[in-house]
Symmetry: C2
Subunit: 198 residues, 2 copies
DNA sequence: GACGAAGATGACCGGGCGATCAAGTTGCTA
DNA sequence: TAGCAACTTGATCGCCCGGTCATCTTCGTC
């Protein structure tokens, strides 16, 4: 991801990937409070190794979140080149939700100033383009902005997560409901103006 | 709330209310990880006093969450007696979101078996009644259940919370969008069946 | 106003956490 | 294959948290 100046040694590069994967799984399972010790155990390395790759826990989280942002941005840009604007937006929201299903990690911790903010802004731009195109095609109502959709990305997963015994695909139901709310047909005026960004 | 056998001493009752209020504020400000020490400080009592009123942190949280559930249930029941079914449902969602604006505390920690589960089920029943009436009146689409709306309660606040500099009333915008998605006009078939409860 | 019980308090404990560091090990290069 | 830098590691630190307890204070009652 980050093409740093010096190439990483072979074992170090392998451990770094192992750590990122383990951290992703552990954060998905235990939430943001997953301990560095557990992550190191899962990766099969010592705890101190984690801190030799990431200066702090926050930096580790930033690396994961940044990766998510970058991956989603790539998806959005690819979909921008497809034919059907409505299908493209719908597909993006589906891919995003499916990827985020693990944890809301993605959005909550993005407020600390860093490279992550830039990656988040990149995603915001890409999503806005997708939304502008869908709006121009009449697929979504006129008063919906890219920022609106950006904020709505993780809503379906969160909603389904409120259910104590949710089916793994329940979020698709709420995504469909929200998407219906975004469509022009039967749209009522909104009580609040669209949010600015950021 | 809990009409226990022995009446509380005057100072104890006052401290209990002080503690509940302080805990609510502290949890709202710092999230579920707010410390007992900070709560005690805010209430102006010693840390040990907290544990003389609530056996554990979980029990304190349960008391707060239970209070929210009970209050919302009362609101739902009252609205069930009003004239307009659509306005009643809309009003309920507004009141609920406005009250929850502080923290999602309400739903996340309700899975531990206790009296809270019962209060949550009471709320579920009351909301379902409100939804059934709105559906019968044609205000919402036929494939939406009480459980759906129950899960959707805290969505608007969560969505607005993803914005780094959100206007305090931004959640109203997303509530309106979601409510439009619940309306019969322009409804598309849902990809997933409604969830059972619980 | 005196007395007993209900309650409040500060000191304290055990544990888990993020983070550090000197010492040991391993991969790369010449 | 020798040597060095890059990397890993176990031990350890300081901190904060939830929770406990003996002791002291305060409320309610006669």
């Amino acid at each position: 991801m980050t093409s740093s100046a010096r190439p990483l040694r072979a074992d170090a590069a392998r451990n770094r990937e192992l750590l990122l994967a383990a951290a992703e799984e552990e954060f998905a399972a235990r939430g943001i409070d997953a301990s560095i010790a557990d992550i190191a155990d899962r990766a099969g390395v010592a705890k101190a190794t984690v801190f030799s790759h990431f200066a702090s826990k926050e930096e580790l989280i930033a690396a994961i979140v940044g990766g998510h942002f970058a991956a989603l941005t790539a998806v959005a840009r690819r979909l921008l080149a497809t034919a059907d604007p409505e299908a493209a937006l719908s597909e993006f929201l589906t891919v995003a939700a499916d990827g985020i299903k693990q944890q809301d990690l993605t959005f909550l911790r993005a407020d600390d100033d860093s490279r992550v903010t830039e990656l988040r802004n990149d995603l915001h731009v890409a999503v806005s383009a997708l939304v502008d195109r869908a709006r121009a095609a009449g697929a979504i109502r006129a008063d919906i902005t890219g920022t609106d959709v950006f904020l709505l990305i993780c809503a379906p997963v969160h909603i389904a997560g409120c259910h104590p015994n949710a089916h793994p695909d329940l979020w698709r139901r709420y995504q469909a409901i929200i998407f219906d709310g975004l469509r022009p047909s039967g749209a009522n005026p909104l009580p609040q103006p669209p949010p600015s960004w950021p």
